[in-house]
Symmetry: C2
DNA sequence: TGACAAAGTGTCAAATGAACACTATATTAG
DNA sequence: CTAATATAGTGTTCATTTGACACTTTGTCA
């Protein structure tokens, strides 16, 4: 009888080059050695599952305040060839300005665009797909888009985030009207001076 | 070091007397002996977590085709005084016409209205609350209401289900218009003859 | 046969959502 | 220096959806 183990796996999203990307780590050990997998690890004896997810996430990112939400628990008996491993999947969002830890800068971790994923280990492919679907749904009824941006951002940047998540183009005027009349952003006094015409920087409120 | 164990717990909903009810089981053993808890049990060695949930559910109900969906995984280290027990919570919906197994008819299991819950064991109170919230949300964007009704039902019965879940009264004409123009029900040729004026029976399609 | 209980039905106003194109302004290249 | 360019920013109209609102029909039961 093999020992039952619980892991957490994290689908960490960011926006790069206007596209939604996921962090994957190259596996150094069997099984699936050499292929990519979601970052994650075992839940320790005296920590909650949520704490384990936070801990694993902070081994990858430097920032404290990362959006992290439980996604789904995958419990097929043969999903891991090593034995009975049930995993609680989470998804997380970081602004691309947030720098990853040096361990992550190494060759063993990399960001992948969602339409150019390499083969991934275990059932991680379907975990990633489900995380993407959840994120899309969540965008409709919440302000989750801000989690992928720095503190100050232009409305165009916010629109690009929404477009990257939804995989569709949005009308600029309709988008700005909707966001502004929701009252969830306020203009800062700063302007972004890169590019051609300067754009006003906004900040998330509430 | 205590052994890690995984359980499933099921929030089984039905409608009784126009109110949403939950099935609870009186605990015969310590801890929380004598108080009520959600039906559930351990995930066995060679079954998936989903299979465990189905199995536990069918120990309570006679029907095969019960709506069952994973809810959330609760993994606080001290949520069970006996040791490290992580539970994957599910919620399920049955029509009240579906009869429970005889084991459930016994005094150890009973339906409770959600606003008259007895004290419940472990963290089951918050699991129940979260299940109710999820069900409410789901009603907005899906046809989950039919799962609480028999195959044929009147539009008034469907409206009562929605009202029970939402905890609010709905306008009869607006409700009927919305349901009918969604095209998710079709009239059968039967009429319900109980009560005063007969009502047309509908059936869920698709 | 009259009272009752539940079924069934339509309109209008307000809010929301979708389509659509031009002007303003700083930068950069010639 | 000035013309070309790239991006910021801005309103209106129409269609659809949503929400409020009350009376008639019909079978049952007293």
């Amino acid at each position: 009888m093999t020992k039952l183990q619980i892991t957490v796996d994290i689908v960490l999203f960011t926006i790069l080059e206007r596209q939604l990307h996921v962090l994957l780590i190259r596996r150094l050990a069997e099984p699936f050695r050499g292929s990519y997998a979601l970052p994650g690890g075992f839940v320790l004896e005296n920590e909650s599952v949520d704490e384990a997810a936070h801990r694993e996430l902070q081994e990858e990112t430097r920032v404290e305040k990362v959006f992290l939400e439980q996604l789904y628990t995958y419990g097929e008996p043969n999903r891991d060839p090593r034995g009975r491993v049930i995993t609680v999947a989470y998804y997380a969002l970081v602004a691309n300005s947030h720098i990853l830890r040096s361990s992550t800068d190494a060759a063993d971790a990399a960001w992948f665009s969602l339409d150019k994923l390499p083969p991934v280990a275990f059932d991680h492919q379907s975990i990633i797909e489900y995380a993407q679907q959840r994120l899309r749904n969540k965008l409709d009824y919440s302000n989750v888009g801000f989690e992928l941006l720095p503190e100050k951002f232009t409305l165009t940047e916010l629109q690009l985030v929404h477009e990257a998540i939804l995989g569709a183009n949005l009308d600029k005027r309709n988008f700005r009207r909707k966001i502004l009349q929701q009252g969830i952003v306020e203009p800062s006094k700063e302007w972004q001076k890169t590019g051609r015409k300067p754009a006003q920087l906004y900040r998330f409120v509430d």
